[in-house]
């Protein structure tokens, strides 16, 4: 076994760590510039000074991005994490057989930025899974809830926060880059601002009430939103009635949660003395717990529930009179209420750093409206967006999100299932196509090379398909390996040879079901599984044709269903480009096709393959 030295490169994020202490705690020698047997370096290869590479030539070296390992927190904690990482790396270097590798370990610590139920639940769940958590909250005390949270539930949760949760009050997250296992976050707090490293980040800013847009021109003196209503102060005059109008989505239907809040307000008002309540709504959104019962209780308590067409509420007399057509009576109704209550909805402001389009995709791409991105997930692996910011209803749904996010994050940072794209530095032209196209934000351009977040990759292969230099060689599914696989399979296939590139999230499952049911595939069909249709670029399609395929079918998920957000659309675009190229060359453009389908649509796949086979036989 080789003797291992620690080569210390002073790097951002390692400030305040004494190299001697780290080396001693890790049980290795600190390098003083002599000849080395084996080494652990505290920074990536790109950061090495010129002389160092010469001294290390041919020796087993582990290039450790120590800053990522160390993360934030107090100095003792950082020293312990640094020593642990160096000791682990030294174990590998000491074997003496490894070629020089750059193998950053994913950082394990988690930043939870926010307040209220969502943030506290997330902090609690992640700490329970053994991750050090920094809870950065804009408030002085962690238990200050969002306006939309139940204060009692939140303070109970705050009181039970485990010891692994470090609290940073009065602290805001002002900048964020990176992906799972390697986030850099700039936190501004009472002690100033600074960058820290984290393995995962949870954004859960506190929710604030916003009034729903009901009708323009309401008299502000009469109008207040649900959250400001102090129902105990409302009562009718001794000799008559107080008329209260509750507007519950008159311009546009509400969410079930907002509607239930409006119903509760209406019910509370109806129980006050000499108060008559009129509830105006366009759709009764009763799909919340007890929503239907609440709606019924309102009517039983004497609330006049009246439906208006969306936008059908007219405001007159300087905002003091409401009018709407009643279809049942066939006439216009009028009401001059003494009090107008408008519905409300919880919102949270989006952090400003997400507006930086060089570092972040649009909100729609970051939090896609896609059934595979539920449970707090965002398209940036390791980043979870919860609570009011995501638009999740207050209460239980936020705890659900926090629990789901924690489990996903825990497994991702454990790194057992996470592949690692390898960027061949000598071929890479630094064109940044991968940085631009990776749907998960994994590659970053640092100094003068491409660095990949250590736990962020989903192996979709979009980068490998898009890289014009073919410099990205993910082990097992690099272009040369896939070409070789295609060649072997096509050599065995009968004429006419057909290639199906099958996305594992849709087409592969459908093909599996067909095969299990004894489906008779065309004799010349080669099914090439891919993690995402996005892996299939022009190189692969054209190679398949070059190797003798008569037709190529790329089958991916439906639009809006891709696990890599737009991998399927990229692939569809590439297939179209190949098809046009073939047309320009005087070849059959229809021999390259793209198919959208879902895993439970095997017949769609069977039909498309049969059509492809029929066309190939004709041509």
């Amino acid at each position: 076994m080789a003797r291992v030295s620690l080569v210390w490169l002073e790097r951002p994020g390692l400030e305040g760590l004494a190299p001697e202490l780290v080396a001693r705690a890790a049980g290795v020698e600190l390098d003083r510039g002599g000849l080395l047997e084996a080494a652990v370096v505290s920074g990536p290869q790109a950061a090495a000074p010129p002389g160092l590479k010469g001294r290390l030539l041919g020796k087993p070296v582990v290039w450790l991005d120590l800053a990522l390992e160390v993360g934030g927190g107090d100095d003792a904690l950082r020293l312990a994490r640094a020593a642990l990482a160096v000791a682990r790396a030294a174990g590998r270097a000491a074997l003496g057989t490894l070629p020089p590798v750059y193998a950053p370990q994913p950082a394990q610590n988690v930043l939870v930025a926010g307040a209220g139920l969502a943030a506290l639940s997330a902090a609690q769940e992640e700490a329970a899974l053994g991750h050090p958590v920094l809870l950065a909250t804009p408030f002085d005390a962690a238990h200050v809830p969002g306006q939309d949270d139940d204060p009692q539930e939140v303070s109970l949760l705050a009181a039970r926060l485990p010891a692994q949760v470090e609290l940073a009050p009065g602290t805001e997250l002002t900048e964020l880059t990176g992906a799972a296992g390697g986030f850099r976050a700039r936190l501004a707090g009472p002690q100033g601002a600074g960058w820290q490293s984290f393995g995962a980040v949870v954004l859960a800013p506190p929710g604030q009430w916003a009034s729903s847009c009901e009708a323009p021109g309401l008299d502000p003196a009469l109008t207040q939103p649900v959250w400001q209503l102090r129902v105990q102060e409302v009562s009718g005059p001794p000799d008559g009635w107080l008329y209260a109008a509750v507007l519950a989505g008159t311009a546009r239907p509400l969410t079930a949660d907002s509607f239930a809040r409006a119903l509760r307000a209406a019910l509370a008002l109806a129980e006050r003395p000499r108060v008559q309540v009129v509830l105006l709504y366009s759709e009764a959104r009763v799909a919340s717990d007890h929503g239907e019962r609440l709606f019924r209780q309102c009517r039983q308590a004497g609330v006049l529930a009246t439906r208006v067409a969306p936008g059908g509420l007219a405001v007159r007399e300087g905002g003091r009179e409401l009018a709407w057509p009643d279809p049942l009576l066939g006439q216009e109704m009028e009401l001059a209420p003494d009090l107008i209550i408008t519905a409300d909805q919880a919102r949270a402001a989006r952090p400003a750093f997400l507006d930086n389009r060089l570092l972040w995709p649009s909100w729609e791409s970051l939090v896609p409206d896609n059934p595979r991105f539920s449970g707090g997930r965002s398209s940036r692996t390791g980043l979870y967006i919860l609570g009011a910011l995501r638009g999740t209803a207050p209460g239980a749904a936020r705890r659900v999100e926090a629990a789901d996010a924690a489990a996903e994050m825990h497994e991702r940072l454990a790194g057992k299932l996470v592949p690692m794209p390898v960027v061949r530095d000598k071929i890479c032209a630094r064109c940044l196509t991968c940085v631009r196209t990776c749907p998960h934000g994994v590659p970053r351009h640092v100094v003068d090379s491409i660095h990949c977040a250590p736990a962020g990759c989903l192996a979709c292969g979009v980068c490998a398909a898009e890289c014009p230099a073919q410099a990205i060689a993910p082990p097992g599914w690099s272009n040369p390996e896939m070409f070789a696989g295609l060649q072997r399979a096509l050599a065995l296939a009968a004429e006419p040879r057909l290639v199906l590139f099958a996305c594992q999230n849709s087409a592969l499952a459908a093909a599996g079901e067909l095969s299990a049911g004894g489906h008779a595939w065309p004799a010349g069909l080669v099914i090439n599984p891919v993690v995402c249709a996005g892996r299939v670029g022009e190189h692969l399609i054209m190679k398949a044709l070059e190797l003798g395929a008569r037709a190529v079918l790329v089958a991916g998920c439906h639009e809006g269903n891709c696990r890599s957000v737009t991998g399927n659309l990229r692939s569809r675009l590439r297939a179209g480009q190949c098809s046009r190229t073939l047309g320009r060359l005087g070849l059959a453009p229809e021999s390259v096709q793209f198919l959208h389908l879902a895993s439970n649509q095997p017949r769609v796949l069977a039909q498309a393959v049969a059509q492809m086979a029929a066309r190939a036989l004709e041509g």
Binding site: A284, D289, P327, L328, R372, S374, A396, A403, N561, N600
Partner: protein
């Protein structure tokens, strides 16, 4: 009794999407679990749900079953028994449960998908139990005025899904005139079912759009009380749907057999009585408490919600008995995606419970 593990950290009853999601979530947390499914195949009702994408994903979540099956099969921490029925349970000494599992019917000739049939009667010690037995869709025959089982051409929404999964109208033309009747067995005081089933507007409108795409001249009437909310882009989607089909705000009082197909009797908002014939009438049945809710509640000493679902409405996953948790739509009406997410919290709660009892044992 041989070859079977006598104990498991966590036992999950039910192998539908919620049960599978709970198992996968526990595995993510590094915990082993045993999943017991009554049927020969995993997947529950989601197996009969079709993909509702037309030009883009309709976000119904039916595709996530395949993801879950693949994930559950790939994880060594998950032991799966099919055709396994819990027959009795008693609290184990200290903490946890001793659950008796018995084979449900003769073993299927071929194993279907992941898991193996329960080899015989098994007595399993579990530190925690997650119930993910799924909801029971309302039987439309229970609302006899709507003609289900009596008037030809009246089918349930689940039957429509199954027909679409089997490709019923791929070879022959789809019906030209179709009615969807919403809130069958939900929001209905006469049946004592005072809850909104949450999912029916979404699935019915998506099915309607799917059918309409296969036959653009199809005339679809959508009888409803209110249209519920289905996520971010729903209002915009709804505006498009309103152009494609007739939204009739009326709850039909009767569906009668007629010469030209089932006839729907309803009243318009202004009070006018109408009678209209359709080729096919689809009853959008609501979700209700699981069929075996009473037996399960007795077996584990569980609480039930006001509506008869398992657990307590105000507590998302607690079942009202120590070490027992509920996941998915057996706790209240939930969509597929919501059930999958909910199961994650049940898994977290079960994991926390197991960890806390371990600590108590040491201390």
């Amino acid at each position: 009794m041989v070859n079977t593990p006598p104990s498991t950290p966590i036992l999950i009853l039910g192998g539908g999407v919620a049960g599978l999601a709970a198992a996968v979530d526990l595995a993510r947390r590094g915990l082993a679990c045993t999943l017991a499914e009554r049927e020969p195949a995993l997947g529950g009702r989601a197996r009969d749900f079709c993909c509702k994408a037309v030009s883009a994903c309709a976000r119904c979540g039916a595709c996530r079953l395949a993801d879950l099956l693949a994930e559950a099969a790939a994880r060594p921490q998950i032991t799966i028994y099919t055709q396994a029925l819990a027959t009795s349970a008693r609290p184990a000494e200290g903490h946890g449960w001793q659950v008796e599992l018995a084979p449900a019917g003769p073993a299927a000739p071929l194993p279907i998908g992941p898991g193996q049939p329960l080899p015989g009667r098994v007595s399993l010690a579990a530190q925690a139990v997650i119930l993910a037995v799924g909801p029971q869709p309302f039987d439309p025959a229970g609302k006899s005025s709507l003609g289900y089982g009596r008037v030809p051409g009246v089918i349930s929404a689940l039957e429509l899904e199954a027909r679409l999964v089997q490709g019923a109208w791929e070879q022959r033309p789809a019906p030209a005139k179709l009615a969807f009747i919403q809130c069958v067995g939900s929001r209905d005081q006469s049946l004592g079912r005072l809850w909104c089933s949450r999912v029916c507007c979404g699935y019915a409108l998506r099915l309607a759009r799917l059918l309409k795409a296969s036959r653009p001249d199809m005339d679809i009437a959508f009888f409803h009380m209110d249209v519920q909310d289905y996520g971010r882009a729903w209002e915009e989607e709804l505006a498009g749907l309103r152009r494609e089909m007739r939204f009739v705000r009326a709850m039909p009082g009767e569906v009668a057999a007629g010469a030209g197909g089932p006839e729907v009797v309803f009243a318009l908002a202004e009070g006018k009585q109408m009678r209209e014939a359709f080729d096919l009438v689809v009853l959008s049945q609501g979700l209700g408490p699981p069929a075996g809710a009473g037996a399960l509640a007795q077996m584990f000493g569980l609480a039930r919600t006001q509506d008869g679902f398992l657990g307590r409405a105000e507590e998302p996953v607690a079942a009202g008995a120590a070490g027992v948790f509920v996941a998915g739509a057996c706790q209240g009406p939930r969509s597929l995606t919501e059930s999958i997410d909910h199961a994650g919290l049940a898994a977290a709660a079960a994991a926390a419970y197991v960890a806390s009892t371990k600590g108590a044992g040491r201390g």
